[in-house]
């Protein structure tokens, strides 16, 4: 299947290893613009590896990954200088946020516009403040990461990942540290980001969240997508054993 005009992420037959262990073994996945897609599976199914391969943080050995106009080839991760195009296509929100501890929330968001895009500080700052404002953390702009709550830190991390305005946003286990109210707020956030035309791919095993807030679910098992479709269909009438295992597994990790 060729990627359609709205296809932001296109993965075909991706194989990846961690050490000698085969983690991805022929993974196919497409994510469209304006879509919130959850990549689900039990721990060790390969969700994080898939996200890291898309973000060119780890190599894959076979297959192809295309983000927008950017194609990644199998083999070692290219030098950072050859990944410029990809970096403006993919934003990533890490599970533990990974905010830069020595910089304020605002400075975290401003870092890439100033140093990668070469914007004047004033312009970068006004864009960063807008982003923080749109995520509801404008008042925390001058706080250091260690002064932020878990939910605030996540929203600053999202703002930072959006600073280069990437069409694809990856979120690794975004609900793992959130209480129910915050999960619902996060659901609203990803929904509104998708409405603005972005593609979102969430690695999660949070079934409740997926059912309530995502458009499509792709279930990963032993390195392959074994079942996918609209969230409600897949999660309410699972056809594959891996999906059923996911539904009966304890929610927390």
């Amino acid at each position: 299947m060729e990627p359609g005009v709205n296809t932001v992420l296109h993965m075909r037959a991706v194989h990846a290893e961690r050490g000698k262990q085969q983690v991805l073994s022929g993974m196919d996945l497409d994510v469209q613009a304006g879509e919130v897609c959850a990549l689900m599976g039990v721990s060790g199914a390969g969700k994080s590896t898939a996200l890291r391969a898309i973000a060119a943080l780890q190599p894959f050995s076979r297959g192809s990954i295309t983000v927008g106009a950017c194609a990644l080839r199998p083999g070692p991760v290219p030098a950072e200088s050859r990944l410029r195009a990809l970096r403006s296509q993919v934003g990533m929100v890490f599970q533990a946020h990974a905010l830069f501890e020595h910089l304020t929330a605002l400075e975290n968001v401003m870092l890439s516009p100033v140093h990668v895009l070469g914007w004047p500080r004033a312009r970068a700052e006004s864009v960063a403040r807008e982003l923080l404002d749109s995520l509801g953390v404008a008042s925390r702009a001058d706080a250091l990461p260690r002064q932020l709550s878990g939910g605030e830190a996540q929203r600053v991390a999202i703002a930072r990942a959006l600073a280069l305005d990437p069409p694809l946003l990856l979120l690794d286990e975004p609900t793992s540290a959130l209480d129910p109210a915050r999960r619902s707020a996060l659901g609203d956030t990803v929904r509104s980001l998708a409405r603005s035309g972005r593609a979102l791919l969430l690695a999660t095993h949070d079934v409740e969240f997926a059912e309530a807030h995502v458009d499509r679910v792709a279930v990963l098992s032993r390195g392959m997508v074994v079942e996918q479709g609209p969230a409600t269909d897949v999660l309410r009438s699972p056809r594959h054993a891996a999906t059923r295992a996911l539904l009966t597994a304890p929610v927390s990790e």
């Binding site: 200088s81 970096r87 403006s88 993919v90 533990a96 020595h102 140093h115 990668v116 990942a161 280069l164």
Partner: protein
């Protein structure tokens, strides 16, 4: 104080026995080295412990090349002479030249004998014997300079080396004020002459005994006939031990009178006519005249400017060495974290060699060992030596700080499109610096103190200046306290800074 009084009582008794013995055997016979073991008449007495510096070498005190366990030299024979006169066994104890007077005062041994110079400050604090030898301070110059440099006044702007904390060093300090001579202080009396022939110095001012010995051993220079000053060697006793000193004076006078002392000096080729006239002068004076010392006061006011200047040298040296260490250490750390495998191996070897060998050795190699290749000025060699050594320690701090920054921080920076260099400069470096700052500050305080080692390559910094002061007055109490206070003034603000930074950043 109590120990001192007890010692005094003990020695009063010893004197009585001594006088009886002197009457019996007429001053004792000369001996070559340590007296024959187990001599019947001395077996019941405690040995006469005498301290000297075998590094000073012949003709004073040196390890016998045939029997490295025993000592020889004219001071060894004089110690034997004194012991024999006292009816005791001589027992040698090694002590650094600069510590002879303080050591005898604290009771490490009974008498110090190793070319100890007679000085008023020493007389004020310790019991000194009568002068047993007269030495002349003479200039040694390169053969081509004999016409130019006849006296200190000819050496304006020239570097003149000597042993630190000696009469000769004092003379050079005076000549510095008077004629702009540049004094260079050494910790030993061999390197001044080798540096003279190598062209690092223009002249050496030292005792003629030392100069003539070096001429025989090294050669390549000329001793000028002009006598810059004269001085005397004495034996030094604890202040409370004046009774023992008095007994020693009796023995020395007797040996001057009967020619025993002359025999010793002739054996060691250091006898000359001035020794005869010294003996004449000593014997013509009543006994107690040598015993009284002038009371040297106001030492602090005299030495304080020199100490302050030395503290400044310590500070400047430490700051420059630390700056080099920080810059080089950062490069080494970056090379070890980011560099290719061969570079990493090379840098690891550098770090391990620098950390695994004494900095003292490194300073020696850089200053003396490399002098055939590159003749570095002493201060520069000190900055380089300490800088290279501390760079190894700094690099380890930076390396572990860089490695302590979590992988997710670096990955997050990658996903934002920052280049490897930008990540180091904007994300990894600044965070690592916070981790490194407190240990760096501690290292700087350590460097401040380690800088005292550079006196071995002729840089007179705070500790060396204190040692000079202490040797001159024969006591460490006041100089030590002033020195400690100056080090604390330099290091306390830094220690506090380290504490504040640690407290501030450990909350993260």
């Amino acid at each position: 104080m109590r120990a001192g009084r007890e010692a005094e009582r003990r020695w009063r008794g010893a004197t009585i026995v001594l006088v009886a013995l002197l009457v019996a055997c007429g001053g004792g016979a000369p001996s070559t080295t340590d007296g024959p073991p187990g001599a019947a008449r001395s077996s019941s007495r405690s040995p006469l412990r005498w301290g000297g510096d075998a590094e000073g070498g012949a003709p004073f005190v040196e390890a016998d090349p045939q029997h490295p366990d025993s000592m020889r030299g004219f001071d060894v024979e004089i110690a034997g002479l004194l012991a024999r006169g006292l009816g005791r066994e001589p027992r040698f104890m090694q002590v650094a030249y600069a510590s002879i007077a303080p050591s005898v005062e604290r009771g490490d041994f009974d008498v110090g004998l190793s070319g100890v110079e007679d000085r008023p400050e020493l007389r004020a604090r310790h019991a000194l014997s009568l002068p047993y030898y007269e030495f002349r301070e003479v200039l040694a110059v390169r053969p081509g300079d004999t016409a130019r440099y006849r006296s200190l006044d000819d050496l304006t702007g020239r570097r003149v080396g000597t042993l630190g904390a000696t009469l000769a060093y004092e003379l050079l300090l005076d000549a510095q004020q008077r004629a702009g001579v540049v004094p260079v202080s050494y910790d030993d009396d061999v390197h001044p002459y080798s540096d003279l022939t190598a062209g690092r110095l223009d002249a050496v001012l030292l005792d003629h005994v030392i100069a003539e010995r070096s001429l025989r051993r090294i050669g390549g220079f000329v001793i000028q006939p002009h006598v810059v000053a004269t001085g005397h060697y004495v034996a030094v006793f604890a202040r409370a031990d004046s009774a023992l000193r008095d007994s020693a004076d009796v023995i020395l006078r007797e040996s001057m009178r009967d020619g025993t002392l002359e025999g010793i000096f002739r054996r060691w080729n250091v006898w000359d006519t001035s020794q005869a006239s010294l003996a004449q002068r000593v014997l013509s004076q009543p006994a107690p005249s040598w015993a009284t010392g002038e009371d040297a006061t106001g030492g602090v006011a005299r030495y304080l400017p020199a100490l302050l200047k030395a503290a400044l040298i310590t500070l400047v040296l430490s700051v420059l060495a630390m700056a080099s260490a920080v810059a080089l250490g950062a490069l080494v750390a970056a090379g070890r974290v980011y560099g290719p495998a061969p570079l990493r191996v090379l840098l690891t070897v550098y770090v391990e060699v620098m950390r695994g060998t004494p900095v003292l050795l490194q300073l020696f190699v850089i200053y003396y060992g490399l002098s055939g290749v590159v003749r570095l000025p002493a201060f520069l060699a000190a900055v380089i030596g300490l800088g290279l050594n501390y760079a190894a320690y700094e690099s380890e701090i930076y390396r572990s700080a860089l490695l302590a920054i979590s992988r997710s921080q670096l990955e997050a920076a990658h996903t934002l499109g920052l280049s490897e260099w930008q990540i180091l400069r904007l994300v990894r470096g600044p965070q690592a610096l916070r981790l490194a700052l407190a240990p760096m500050t501690n290292d700087f305080v350590a460097l401040l103190k380690d800088s005292s080692l550079v006196s071995v390559i002729t840089v007179v910094e705070l500790t060396k200046q204190t040692a000079i002061y202490a040797t001159n007055i024969g006591s460490w109490a006041v100089p030590g306290m002033i020195c400690a206070a100056l080090y604390l003034v330099l290091s306390l603000p830094l220690s506090r800074l380290a504490g504040v930074l640690e407290a501030k950043w450990s909350q993260a």
